[in-house]
Each structure stands twice: as C-alpha cells, then as structure tokens.
C-alpha cells in the first residue's frame, strides 16, 4: 500500500495543480445549416459555461439577440442581417467578442 502511494504521489500532485492554471474565457461561433449560428462558450481550463450571458449586438450597439447559454454551453440563434458581433459575457473583464466576419460558413 505504501509503495503504491509513493508511486501515485507525483501524478496526484500534478493533477491537483491543474485547477490553479488560468481560466481565460473563450467563445467559438460557427454557422450551421439554414442561416443559424451556433456559439459555444467555455473557459480554457476545460470547464463549460452553462447559463452565461451571450448577446448578439449590432454595430450600432443595439442588442439583437439576448440569451444565455444552455446546459451544453451553446446557444443557437438566427444570423441577423448586417454587421454584428457576439459578446460572451461572463462578467466585467471576462468577455469575448466574436465579429460577424469571423463566423465562418459551414
């Protein structure tokens, strides 16, 4: 038993250090079929972002779609006309902007 503990000590310590890494917000959007856009939010430590606000905002600062990410950390909405950006908003200073030009066609 003691021998096993010794063998496992290092891997366990390495795993325990994982959550101390930075968790930068991230958001990816892609166009799925029939003019729908699907955005997936999350954090760089691998955790998801269910319930986090995701707004689609026009270049004139009008909120076109206001929503929250579902349990699978995604939100699907109809692609608005014109210029817009997607704002993944996990709190002040924890935002990701995705410009409409970066949302690729399928």
């Amino acid at each position: 038993m003691k021998h096993l503990m010794r063998k496992l000590a290092l891997p366990l310590l390495v795993l325990a250090a994982g959550p101390a890494l930075a968790h930068n917000p991230m958001c990816e959007c892609e166009e799925v079929a029939s003019g729908q856009v699907k955005c997936t939010g999350g954090f760089s430590d691998g955790s998801g972002a269910p319930g986090v606000t995701l707004d689609v905002i026009g270049y004139d600062e009008q909120v076109l779609v206001g929503g929250k990410l579902g349990d699978d950390s995604t939100l699907t909405f109809k692609r608005p006309d014109g210029e817009f950006y997607v704002l993944f908003d996990a709190g002040p200073g924890h935002v990701v902007e995705v410009d409409y030009a970066d949302i690729g066609q399928p």
Binding site: A22, N24, M26, F43, S44, D89, P92, G93, H94, E97
Partner: protein
C-alpha cells in the same frame, strides 16, 4: 566466525558501490543551477524588480494616470483553444487609487464599456491581467486602457502596441496575419 560469503561482484556493481555517495552529492547540487532563475522570478513577482519590462510611465487617462508594463519581454503565450495571451502589469497613481473602480485593457478601441476588454486584478499598486492577442492583430495596433471611476465616469487612452510590447509585434509579424 562469520558465515557470510563475499560473492565476486560485477564491475558495474563495484563502480556503483564506490561512487554512489559522491553521485548523491551531485544530485544535491543540481537544484543550485536553477537558483538564479528562481530568485529572478521571485523578485519579479514580488515587485522588487519593478513593474515589468518596457514600462510606460504616467499614461494620462482622463483625470487619472497609470504606469503600464509587460510582465516579461517575450511573445504571447498560448492557452489552448482560447488563443494567445500576453501578461501585463499596471499601477495606478497614488492619488487616483480611491477613485478608480476598474481598469480594462484591450487591443483596439472598445465598442462599449461592457466590452472594454480584460480587467486588471490585484492591488492597485501592482495589478495584472492577461490580454488576449487576436492572431490577426495589425502590428501598428493600439492598446486601449479604459478606466471606470466610482462616480460612473469612463476615461480612455491608448498606447501603441509596438511601444508596450515589441516582442508581441515581432511575433505578429512573424505570424504574417495567419489564420
């Protein structure tokens, strides 16, 4: 009389038995090689080595001012699918510490206070943040500092990225606007 028999040991075993004591002393010496880096890091994180490198002092942002510096003179670090990040430090002027609620940093002019960029955290004398560097950032880009006051006011200023972090600009030029 002892019954123990001396077996003819292999040359390797003999070598090990002869030198193991000295080899273990060498093992103790190995960490000493890492000491200069360790102390340099400790000095940097404690602030004894100043705010960082490429310090830009007294950037006037509305009625306030602050110092900005990059943590290390190096290219942005990758953070998996979240992209590349560059670590910056800042310190507020002593007179404005009580008046400033939040400090944000962003590449390019923010569209709104909500999307003002990444927020500085830590003590106002030495705050830090991780600035995401979009891969298509132009080398002549500006980084924008947004200050939010407790009175609800918002003040902005910008400094050239090339001045704040030459290593990031070099990295961007090497990337050649990839992706």
């Amino acid at each position: 009389m002892s019954q123990a028999q001396t077996l003819p040991a292999s040359p390797l075993k003999q070598w090990w038995l002869k030198w193991r004591f000295h080899l273990n002393i060498l093992l103790i010496l190995i960490p000493l090689g890492f000491m200069p880096k360790y102390f340099a890091d400790a000095k940097l994180f404690r602030g004894d080595a100043g705010l960082g490198v490429n310090v830009i002092s007294d950037i006037q942002v509305g009625p306030y001012s602050l110092d900005l510096a990059e943590m290390r003179d190096e290219a942005p670090r990758a953070d998996g699918p979240a992209g590349h990040f560059k670590s910056f430090n800042a310190s507020l002027c002593k007179a404005c510490i009580n008046d400033v609620k939040a400090v944000y940093l962003r590449i390019g002019k923010p569209r709104s206070l909500r999307a003002a960029g990444t927020i500085f955290f830590g003590a106002p004398y030495r705050m830090g943040t991780n600035l995401p560097i979009p891969p298509r950032t132009q080398p002549d880009a500006q980084i924008w500092i947004t200050l939010e006051g407790w009175d609800g006011s918002m003040h902005q200023a910008s400094v050239p990225l090339a001045k704040a972090s030459p290593a990031t600009v070099a990295w961007l030029e090497k990337q050649g606007g990839k992706k």
